[in-house]
Point group: none
Chain length 234, copies 2
DNA sequence: CTGATCATTGTAATAATATTA
DNA sequence: ATAATATTATTACAATGATCA
């Protein structure tokens, strides 16, 4: 029952289509071979007419000195455009690509897998950049707010003092919970490189607005940009 | 540390902040070509090599397909500790390790290369996580400040309007610390869930008080999350 | 050496199929 | 025959090893 109800949620929507670039590797000795992983399957057409292709049902058959890797630029183009449409690879397209590009289905699958992995890394990098920018923005906004709060408090205090008939004491006001004077140390973007944006950050305003006489309240040094010690590599 | 110990019971799904990048819900008619699934390439894989005694993975010798991969935990330990001391690998240590671990010098070098490269990636991920946390924190702080500003302005306005007699009720002020409604529009690391929740309340304050010299503090929703696009990776 | 790739190994998840109570 | 359970095949992904430019 329902062998198909499961529709994908997610659908990232590729978009952006500047797949120019990504074209290094102009064949020349291109392909000419591919590990024939399993001969049983149909086509295997493959330009692999080279001897020694025989194989052994075993998965690996590096027997022939041709470990020729690197797909041709044409193959990459196709794969790439397909990937843009959909990062997932359904059996249909896999076989289609397999035939069209003369690659083993397994290779198609692997390529997509690796592609997704690489994409994830890129995504991460991009996410980091945007987050960083937003962080900077919000940091500034917060600073302004802090300044504003200080000013407002000054005004209030002044008003109160100016009109002594008022009952409100300044302590009542200053006793408010505040998050002012929180050190907003902008983590200097130490992210290695950013092919796209990577702006020379705004590391200079590391100072705190330092709300005058109000208690700092929670030092909050979460921004301890630890130098990131070496390994662990979990 | 142990970051791997080959014999681990498998790390229970990484669970990093980037899971949203994946579907983790395979499907898409997993079956489809049921039937006719050639049995041939069963993978009786299993690397049963004795640690330390393996030879090289040089271009596999005739028919002697050594699929051996995966270094033993012992080898990894050594490599790891060496890496801790120095991420670079000088010829001396390379040879030393080669002998001690029974691996080709080339393998040692490769391991170090990969280790260095992959360590970088991990670093970025960590950076992201920490930055995100900081972002969340600062978001909340900003929220509080906004609320505080609103209250302060209300107070000021009240004082001004109230003229000489009007009093500022302390309750207005004291009630200010209960600003726990901070469901800040934080960029959640999980899927781009739009948080169109609160954060509208404080909208009108901008003019209740001639903000001439008081910084408006810009848009309140500047930190809303945009659906990240597919980065087309080139 | 670094970066980018291709590929393999080991797990987990899941759906269709086969087997069993 | 039917529901529960085991099996099988396939897909996804992380971690790695190794190669190429």
């Amino acid at each position: 029952m329902d062998w198909n109800t499961n529709l994908r949620a997610f659908v990232p929507r590729p978009e952006s289509s500047f797949n120019f670039l990504y074209n290094h590797n102009y064949d020349q000795f291109a392909g000419m071979k591919v590990n024939v992983v399993h001969p049983g399957m149909a086509e295997m057409s493959q330009y692999g007419l080279v001897p020694g292709v025989l194989d052994k049902n075993s998965i690996n058959n590096y027997g022939n000195q041709e470990k020729k890797k690197r797909l041709t630029s044409e193959q990459l183009e196709s794969l790439e455009s397909c990937f843009q449409e959909e990062t997932k690879l359904d059996p249909d397209r896999k076989m289609k690509l397999s035939r069209e590009l003369g690659l083993q289905p397994r290779q198609i699958a692997v390529w997509f897998q690796n592609r997704r992995a690489r994409w994830k890394a890129k995504q991460l990098e991009q996410l980091y950049d945007t987050l960083k920018q937003e962080f900077d923005v919000i940091s500034r906004e917060k600073q302004k707010l802090q300044q504003e709060v200080v000013k407002l408090k000054a005004i209030v205090r002044e008003q109160v003092q100016g009109g002594n008939r008022k009952q409100v004491s300044t302590t009542d006001i200053s006793g408010e919970e505040t998050v002012e004077s929180t050190s907003v140390a902008i983590r200097s973007s130490s992210k290695p490189r950013s092919s796209t944006s990577n702006q020379q950050n705004i590391a200079e305003y590391n100072y705190i607005f330092n709300a005058d006489d109000y208690s700092p309240v929670t030092p909050w040094n979460s921004t301890t940009v630890q130098p990131v010690q070496l390994p662990s590599y979990p």
